[in-house]
């Protein structure tokens, strides 16, 4: 027990206990936050031991191969050795504690590793295309998708994405914020229904939004597969996201502020407009940016309501299709042509960059909020 550092999170006075019950050990304060040499050495020993064991097994004994199998086997051998080493000098609860800790840390590392490989692999595959500046400045129709990299780009594709997402934000943001205000400020039995439906709709398959828009805008009203149809489909998928994250932002506004406003004679509307919404602004902006990040990468509805084209078209409501990043990436990657695939990956890097950039803004805003409070 004493060798294990008790992970108590708050400062606890442990002096008075020693006075009441005299222990035969000398009065040494337990180091609360120090990691003992035993802990470090058993981890290192288990890591090295399992590596060597698996190495020998893989190279000389067993008939399997492959880097993936090696790492998996290494991890399990490590867990076994770690349990064994700890078991030599510690009781069972400590063994279980350490093994479970190693399992959870392993899971965390696995997820982090996957995220890193996704980003690194995408970037590596697109590295031949990205240095060509024309990739960002020329429309896709300026060169063949299968042609050399110094002709043609994705400027019209990026613009298409931006136009579609802007319209989608214009539709979904008022709807989402209005719903969130209704859920937090008005309340009642109906708001519980709305909340349940909104939460369920957050995970509605995005493809169905595409089907819905196709059925309504294109089949019913004889529309075309144009940019506006895409925007509406995106808005359908973004609205519940905006509503949910805006609701979270509104809910953390202290109730005391609302009551103070109403005690001063402000009406419900005045309280919301002058107190609640300004207080929640950083959270609402975060909600907005998160929904943009989701919307710009949304790809499933595009397969149904958007048409693929390499030609620039910046008018969302005429009868012509308007391409966007996710669809361009998908079509390029599925083509099987090496150059087209490379272009697809380069566009994927651009998309990833946009999403990461939007995310960085939300982090920045969140930090601002903490420091000003």
């Amino acid at each position: 027990m004493s060798t294990q550092s008790p992970p108590i999170t708050t400062e606890v006075e442990i002096v008075s206990v020693a006075e009441q019950a005299p222990i035969d050990r000398p009065d040494v304060p337990i180091p609360l936050r120090k990691i003992s040499a035993d802990e470090i050495l058993s981890v290192v020993g288990a890591l090295l031991g399992s590596f060597c064991l698996v190495w020998v097994l893989f190279d000389y004994v067993l008939p399997f191969g492959g880097g993936l199998g090696f790492i998996v086997s290494w991890y399990f051998a490590f867990l076994a050795l770690y349990a064994g080493i700890t078991g030599l000098s510690h009781p069972r609860p400590v063994v279980i504690d350490r093994v479970m800790g190693a399992v959870f840390i392993g899971m965390g590392l696995l997820v982090g590793f996957v995220l890193v490989t996704v980003v690194v692999y995408t970037t590596l595959q697109g590295r031949d295309v990205l240095p060509h500046w024309n990739f960002f400045t020329q429309p896709a129709s300026a060169g063949s998708l299968r042609g050399p990299y110094n002709k043609g780009g994705i400027s019209n594709i990026i613009m298409g994405s931006l136009i579609q997402v802007s319209i989608a934000v214009g539709i979904s943001f008022p709807l989402g914020i209005g719903t969130a205000v209704f859920m937090t400020e008005v309340g009642g039995a109906f708001s519980r229904v709305v909340r349940t439906v909104v939460e369920a709709m957050t995970a509605l398959p995005d493809l169905l939004a595409g089907l819905f828009v196709y059925a309504v805008l294109i089949l019913k009203f004889h529309g075309h597969r144009n940019g506006f149809a895409v925007s509406v489909a995106l808005a359908v998928t973004m609205t519940p996201i905006v509503a949910r994250s805006a609701e979270v932002a509104l809910r953390v506004v202290p109730g005391g502020l609302r009551e103070a406003g109403q005690a001063l004679g402000a009406s419900n509307w005045q309280t919301v407009r002058r107190i609640v919404l300004p207080t929640a602004t950083p959270g609402l902006v975060t909600a907005l940016i998160l929904s943009i990040a989701r919307g710009i990468g949304e790809s499933a509805p595009l397969l149904i309501v958007s048409g693929f084209t390499t030609f620039a078209n910046y008018n969302p409501v005429d009868g012509q299709p308007m391409n966007s990043l996710p669809l361009y990436i998908f079509e390029c990657l599925k083509s099987g042509e090496p150059r087209e695939i490379a272009r697809g990956f380069a566009a994927a890097v651009v998309l990833l960059f946009i999403v990461f950039f939007l995310f960085a803004i939300t982090r920045f805003l969140a930090r601002q909020k903490v420091t000003t409070r």
Partner: protein
């Protein structure tokens, strides 16, 4: 500004107070509930429109639409039973992978990670949820599939006596048929699991973080190890969140389109062998066939969409109820 004394004739009479909202408030409340109602109507109309579009299908094929396996609009034989099976196979495989990983990652972030980097880890998981699915699909197709093929072969070699892991042909032969192991439900499941891990993880972590501090410290005060504390306080407290997050992930997995579309080679056999090439899911079927469909085929695809809508709505509503319940109650007040 409510209340007006109508007639102050008799001082003994209690004043009737007529509480009226100011007009600005009435407009505000009407407006906001109108917006909420509109959103509700929008989502309701998704189901209604899908149902309306699929009336011709049910008139034509009846219940055989649900029981028939093959999808041959040219032969006028259309059914989605094999597709439903594939949808659930992919979702279950994704869940089998995502559940332990999401749970472990959530526990790692909320209980084991150093407090200094915790907020960074949380936003990394959120970031992972925001990575577009087309990028996960590309990752799965170009990077994962060549590796997963070997894993599939290994499993079928050593665990092939279990029927679902069997693959046609002899996996131990010197030149094994690689094409039998690609495009399988197993690989699609791995790919989809990547997308639902961050979703499930962030729900679980949110609930774990709310486990009462008093009970945590009580466990430590009784001499518990960290795992003992997690096992007796955090996990029981977060049970609703664990189930809810998993079901939310299941809902996503059932409807995932792009990632599956990368892996899939559409095939309408009833295929229980998850390692073997050839399966189909509802969303992949719709996305794949939508472009080149005639009118009756479109109606059939809308019906497939309706089935998917009903399934995911049931799963997601269940998840929402469970998460809501775990958030509001079950906590002991200290």
């Amino acid at each position: 500004m409510a209340g007006s004394a109508e007639s102050g004739i008799s001082p003994d009479q209690p004043i009737t107070i007529r509480a009226t909202l100011p007009w600005a408030d009435r407009v505000f409340r009407r407006g906001v509930s109108g917006v909420a109602g509109l959103v509700l109507a929008l989502f309701g109309s998704i189901g209604l429109f899908l149902a309306y579009q699929s009336i011709p299908t049910f008139n034509r094929y009846g219940l055989s639409f649900l029981t028939r396996a093959n999808w041959d609009p040219e032969l006028d034989k259309v059914g989605i039973s094999s597709t439903l099976l594939g949808t659930f196979e992919v979702a279950v495989i994704a869940l089998m992978i995502a559940f332990p990983v999401a749970l472990g990652t959530a526990l790692f972030i909320s209980e084991y990670s150093p407090a200094r980097i915790r907020s960074l880890l949380i936003s990394l998981v959120d970031l992972m949820a925001a990575v577009p699915s087309v990028i996960y699909g590309a990752w799965g197709f170009f990077l994962l599939m060549p590796h997963a093929k070997l894993v599939s072969r290994w499993i079928s070699l050593y665990l092939g006596w279990i029927p679902i892991f069997r693959v046609n042909g002899d996996p131990s032969s010197a030149t094994w048929a690689q094409s039998r192991f690609v495009n399988s439900a197993f690989i699609a499941g791995i790919c989809v699991s990547l997308m639902i891990i961050p979703i499930a993880c962030s729900v679980m972590r949110g609930v774990f973080a709310q486990a009462p501090l008093g009970e945590r410290e009580a466990a430590y005060a009784l001499g518990s190890t960290r795992w003992g504390m997690v096992h007796t306080v955090v996990l029981p407290f977060g049970r609703g969140g664990i189930i809810g997050g998993t079901m939310l992930g299941l809902g996503r997995a059932l409807g995932e389109t792009i990632a599956v579309l990368f892996i899939i080679s559409l095939n309408f056999n009833i295929n229980f062998r998850i390692l073997q090439s050839g399966f189909s899911t509802i969303s992949a079927l719709i996305a794949n066939d939508f472009g080149e469909s005639t009118k009756p085929q479109l109606a059939a695809l809308f019906t497939a969409g309706l089935v998917l809508f009903i399934i995911t709505l049931a799963v997601n509503t269940g998840a929402a109820v469970l998460i809501g319940r775990s958030r509001s109650g079950a906590a002991t007040e200290i």
